[in-house]
């Protein structure tokens, strides 16, 4: 069950996303997400990075989550995922005093051939931080790299989870991972959109979310 605090946090993150213009709706030309699903919305969390006030608010909310999580999980290090996870992880690490590392999408291919940077990760309990999760495949890639380097990884934190489609939770669960998201689509729909969404946009998002698989199939994406 989602706690009241988590709901409030989710709506605040969603409102920050609206203020940053991070939620793009395209009713005529849908987007194809990584796993092949069609979606009328594209979420760009990187727009939060550039605005001081918005990023400070988002990082404060993420830090609140982090402090709560630290009561039950002993994380040693925050690991930012290339690229947009890196600044968020660094800012949260700065506020919590935890170690910080970052991980590339793939090893550099030259020199030390390192995938993890910022210091040794061997034996550390690491929390992977990224801006966004859709189908979870890129998270698995990062976690494989971290585990290969000797890190213990069981948890992932993302600012937003595109939780419309069924795959990600199962996929991550099979890898022994728990995904924590500060906001999901239910938060976006409940939040004040600051005039960013037209009535038609909101209706299209609601139609999409009522049956994302069918919506995808009707708009050139996967159907199963």
């Amino acid at each position: 069950m989602t706690s009241i605090a988590a709901k409030e946090r989710g709506q605040k993150i969603a409102e920050i996303m609206f203020k940053a213009g991070a939620i793009h709706v395209s009713r005529q030309q849908p987007y194809i997400l990584a796993a092949g699903w069609a979606s009328p919305v594209y979420v760009d969390i990187r727009l939060l990075i550039g605005e001081p006030e918005l990023r400070q608010q988002a990082v404060a909310l993420a830090t609140d989550w982090m402090k709560e999580a630290l009561q039950t999980s002993a994380f040693d290090a925050l690991v930012g995922a290339e690229t947009a996870g890196i600044p968020f992880a660094a800012w949260i690490a700065e506020r919590t005093g935890l170690k910080f590392r970052y991980i590339r999408k793939r090893p550099l291919g030259i020199g030390r051939n390192a995938q993890v940077e910022g210091g040794a990760i061997d034996g550390l309990n690491a929390l992977l931080v990224d801006d966004l999760t859709t189908d979870g495949r890129s998270k698995l890639n990062f976690v494989r790299g971290l585990r290969a380097a000797g890190a213990h990884v069981e948890h992932i934190l993302t600012i937003f989870y595109h939780d419309a489609f069924p795959d990600a939770g199962v996929r991550l669960g099979q890898a022994g991972l728990t995904l924590h998201a500060l906001a999901t689509w239910s938060d976006v729909l409940a939040a004040q959109d600051d005039g960013q969404l037209s009535t038609q946009d909101r209706q299209e998002i609601e139609r999409f979310l009522s049956d994302p698989v069918a919506w995808s199939a009707r708009h050139g994406g996967r159907s199963a």
Binding site: Y31, I32, L33, G36, D44, G220, R222
Partner: protein, 103 residues
């Protein structure tokens, strides 16, 4: 390489398709060494496209176009598996200067 083409035809063309294609093509070099150069070039093209759209929105038309182009390039390579050396070299050169999105 024919199996790779059949697999590609079943895909919808999200970024994950191109990462998976890249992995499959590179792995296939071990069992089809006579096609290694072609598979490497196709893997590079798919990887470049996936890297570009990993953090950018992929509109449905661009996704469909890229899937069609990759399918045609791979299809041409499959058609010419038994062709003479000059023809195969021409196909390799065509693939080497191709991209999956319109220039």
């Amino acid at each position: 390489m024919r199996e790779l083409l059949e697999w590609l035809k079943s895909q919808k063309g999200g970024v994950s398709t191109y990462w998976e294609f890249q992995l499959r093509a590179l792995k296939l070099r071990a069992t089809e060494p006579e096609q290694a150069a072609c598979l490497s070039l196709l893997a590079d093209i798919a990887g470049r496209f996936a890297d570009k759209y990993y953090e950018e929105p992929l509109p449905v038309d661009a996704a469909a176009g890229a899937l069609d182009r990759l399918g045609k390039l791979l299809g041409k390579a499959v058609e010419n598996i038994e062709a003479d050396a000059a023809t195969r070299l021409r196909v390799l050169n065509e693939i080497s200067v191709s991209e999956l999105e319109p220039g």
